[in-house]
Amino acid sequence: MNREIKMSDPEDIIGPELKAWIGRSIGRIPIPEPISGSEVRRYMRATGDNNPLWFDDDFARAAGYRGRVVPPMVVHEVFRRVGGEGGEWADPWISLPLPEGYTDARNAGSESEWLRPVYLNEPLGVECQITGIKARQGKSGAVTIFAEREERLVNGEGETVFRRLQTMAHLKPQPAAAKGAA
């Protein structure tokens, strides 16, 4: 007799404790210090991006800016200052109450929008909210948990200068073998 084997819904792995994190926000946390020239220099040394818009006030003014601007991908990473290891806001970033064994996390993707130029030494604040937690079963049968958060960067005038929807994939490490997925 054929017996149908019914797989459980991958979403079952998301229990009520984890689900309760959807909608949590951190309020607005000022970044510890404004973005400095030395930070942009370290970005340049990591990427080779020596565009004069990031380093030369006169060049940037000729292009219509108030002065040298912060590179878009530096703005993109400011969230680490309050949400990274040891940051003021640690929990929604790295401490979701995941099921046992989900110790590995990867950047699964993001959707970013730069709304206004950001200049050196501008005071900035970070807002963030967990917007969704989903589970999906891959071809291997392993279930990955995807956590989405919306992040906003706000300037001293209260204007949102940047926003991003970030998806993190939480995985159970697989035995050492071939190269893994992103």
Partner: protein, 162 residues
């Protein structure tokens, strides 16, 4: 180590594209970087303040993540791609939106190559946006990321709306 591409206005001789010159189908980015090494990822970790061992600790990733060696940060790869795009668009260009799906990891020793072309263009010169589709590949031509970017090519002196 990833190749350091030199940029200077002199290299471009002021020849950045204008909104009028760009057409749907134009290639906007086609650039390659050398293999990623530990110096690259440590430089990035120091800038990004991301000390996750996944991105630099070979022993940790082998024992804890089941991977053969460390992987580059997704944001590092995006930055290398965006850098090619901002070099192309020049000072009157502005990155407005970026949607990225990270599709495969970049491991120590992997090289990176990015390509992109214009897929949509505003019909209104006073609202000068372009949509570009970008892809990243490793040295084995396996796709590592897929992005859709919206950029604005303003006339000079209109870059900052504030």
């Amino acid at each position: 180590m990833v190749e350091r591409i030199e940029f200077s206005p002199a290299n471009h001789q002021g020849q950045w594209p204008t909104f009028e010159e760009v057409s749907v189908g134009d290639v906007v980015v086609s650039g390659a970087y050398g293999s990623v090494d530990i110096i690259d990822v440590v430089r990035w970790a120091g800038f990004q303040e991301n000390y996750a061992q996944l991105h630099y600790d070979r022993e940790y990733v082998r024992t804890e993540a089941g991977l053969p060696t460390f992987i580059a940060s997704g944001a590092f790869r995006e930055s290398l791609m965006v850098r090619l795009l901002t070099d192309w668009m020049g000072p009157a260009g502005r990155l407005a939106k970026l949607k990225t799906r990270q599709t495969y990891s970049t491991f120590e020793g992997d090289s990176l190559r990015f390509t992109g072309r214009v897929v949509e263009k505003s019909q209104n010169g006073s609202d000068p946006w372009l949509v570009c589709e970008m892809e990243g590949f490793n040295g084995e031509d396996r796709q590592i990321l897929q992005s859709t970017c919206t950029i604005r090519l303003e006339a000079a002196a209109q870059a900052d709306p504030s």
